[in-house]
């Protein structure tokens, strides 16, 4: 169903989403019929057809000077089968099994809080707001593993400018989808849904902070936070909220999910910092996902290697205390 055209295809010309969604609706229907007698919650947890990564749609992209050069990309297989996306289960392989239930159309982001006017952005309008760029970033999880991911998107600042926030807005909060019809939302994770994340305004406006729609030149696979997420490459992965449905501009530091769950382990800032260890493990080193076992270990870089670009945001702050 996907036709790969030449690389200069505009996002406005991509294959109609309906075709794509019809197929997924059909698969969901087939699964429901097959398991009709079993309670819905139960059926959900059972083996389901994985979203076929090969079916994803190509996005038209341009090069970006903000992409990180000289890195070895993590294989797509690992990026799509080793995920922390608790809405779809607490294990790394759960999202790949369960995220096919996520419906990414229709989709919109509601913008509220300290803005001139409340707004709702449709996902297809967002895709056309600015040219999509290829941005290779290091990705460092707080659990001491890392990947290199070729994201597709544009600077979040472009979106924020379109939101017209008031000068009184000091922070921006991102809320992820929490829909028990499409997601597992496991209670035993301790998380109170929806997943919430936030950035200080200057962090959100930094050109490296990416409003992300795809990876490897195609739309985001569901398990990687489709259809739209943020990526903040100098922070631990959990700061990069997935499947965003609401953006709030606020005056005070917003509550964020992992920080509320274990404040001594996960700070609001959560900048990648090899000098500030997690209470239970060292952050000085990281395991490269997809690398051969005896070459997995590598040193972790301050601000995940983006020190030159972002250190000025934290001038005068004690990063051991404000972790």
């Amino acid at each position: 169903m996907l036709i790969l055209k030449k690389n200069d295809i505009r996002s406005s010309e991509i294959t109609p989403k309906e075709t794509f969604m019809n197929r997924r609706a059909f698969m969901a229907g087939a699964a429901a019929t097959g398991l009709g007698a079993i309670a819905a919650g139960r059926a959900f947890a059972m083996g389901s057809p994985e979203q076929n990564v090969a079916d994803l749609q190509k996005l038209a992209t341009v090069k970006s000077p903000l992409s990180t050069p000289g890195l070895t990309l993590t294989p797509l297989q690992d990026i799509t089968h080793y995920n922390n996306f608790y809405e779809f289960g607490v294990n790394k392989d759960d999202p790949a099994k369960n995220a096919w239930r996520l419906k990414t159309r229709p989709w919109s982001i509601e913008v509220e809080g300290l803005v001139k006017q409340k707004k709702t952005f449709d996902i297809d309008a967002l895709l056309k707001l600015k040219p999509l760029e290829d941005r290779v970033y290091r990705f460092r999880c707080v659990e001491a593993w890392s990947m290199v991911i070729p994201w597709v998107g544009y600077s979040l600042s472009e979106f924020i400018n379109a939101c017209d926030p008031l000068p009184s807005a000091k922070y921006v909060q991102f809320l992820s989808l929490a829909n028990s019809k499409e997601e597992l939302l496991p209670w035993n994770s301790g998380i109170s849904w929806p997943y919430s994340e936030g950035l200080r305004m200057d962090e959100a406006m930094h050109p490296l902070t990416l409003l992300t729609f795809g990876l490897y030149g195609e739309v985001l696979p569901n398990q990687d936070g489709a259809p739209v997420r943020v990526v903040v490459p100098w922070k631990y992965g959990f700061k990069s909220a997935k499947s965003i449905v609401k953006v709030k501009f606020v005056k005070d530091q917003p509550p964020t999910t992992w920080n509320e769950l274990a404040p001594d382990e996960y700070g609001f800032y959560s900048n990648v910092n090899p000098n500030r260890d997690h209470p239970r493990w060292s952050q000085k080193r990281e395991r490269v996902i997809g690398a051969p076992i005896f070459r997995q270990l590598q040193p972790t870089l301050m601000f995940n290697g983006y020190q030159d670009q972002v250190a000025k945001l934290y001038a005068g702050m004690n990063l051991m205390k404000d972790y």
């Binding site: 690992d78 608790y86 607490v90 301790g190 260890d277 239970r280 060292s282 997809g290 076992i293 270990l297």
Partner: protein, 215 residues
């Protein structure tokens, strides 16, 4: 239980304990030669959990031998497998420690000192291994004779302490929300309770039998 059966079962026990190691080594070989994903996306993590869980399972099985014998006297011959199982538990623990020293700490002393002093889950894990060490060293018949049965028995109570430390190490090592250590913890808890309960039962039984023989 005839001698031939014991030999056959011992061969089986060795195979059961070495089988997973063979599997691991085979996949390790594959991962460095033809298939980098043979041990999954995070091979270090795979090997760590494989050897760590193996240690705890074998420790718990070793600890189960005595209560099972007390409960079912017919299975008394199981004691002949206890040393073998205990030594395999230590072997797995050594592989687990090696994984940490090699793949996590990268043979760096400063990294290890840093971890042991600051991270309680590593401290607990090392404590468990250090407790198993004297037990492995005194596993020979010569040591039992030298120490005397009573002293040897007392020393080997450390197995319980090591298993508890191992479970604590497991809980402290996994992140918030992950409940994987629960099963092994429950089993260990049952075994810890079984010892005093079985002892009580034996004591309650003993006087009755005495009076019977007197009558």
């Amino acid at each position: 239980m005839s001698k031939r059966w014991i030999v056959a079962l011992k061969v089986l026990a060795h195979a059961a304990c070495l089988g997973p190691i063979a599997w691991l080594l085979w996949h390790l070989y594959l991962s460095v030669t033809t298939d980098p994903s043979a041990l999954g996306p995070d091979p270090t993590h795979t090997v760590t959990f494989f050897t760590g869980r193996g240690t705890l399972r074998l420790l718990v099985i070793t600890l189960a031998v005595t209560p099972v014998r007390r409960l079912i006297p017919k299975l008394s011959w199981l004691v002949r497998f206890r040393r073998l199982l205990g030594l395999y538990a230590f072997f797995y623990a050594c592989l687990h420690l090696l994984t940490y020293v090699w793949l996590y700490a990268g043979w760096s002393w400063s990294a290890m000192v840093d971890d042991i002093s600051q991270r309680r889950f590593i401290t607990a894990g090392l404590a468990a291994w250090l407790m198993l060490l004297p037990l492995a060293l005194t596993s020979t018949s010569w040591s039992i004779r030298k120490l005397g049965g009573r002293n040897w028995n007392r020393l080997h109570w450390l197995t319980y302490a090591a298993a508890i430390a191992g479970c604590v190490h497991y809980w402290w090592g996994v992140k918030t929300g992950v409940k994987t250590p629960l099963t092994i913890t429950v089993v260990l808890g049952v075994l810890l309770l079984a010892r005093p309960l079985l002892k009580q039962r034996a004591l309650a039984k003993a006087p009755r039998e005495e009076s019977k023989s007197a009558a």
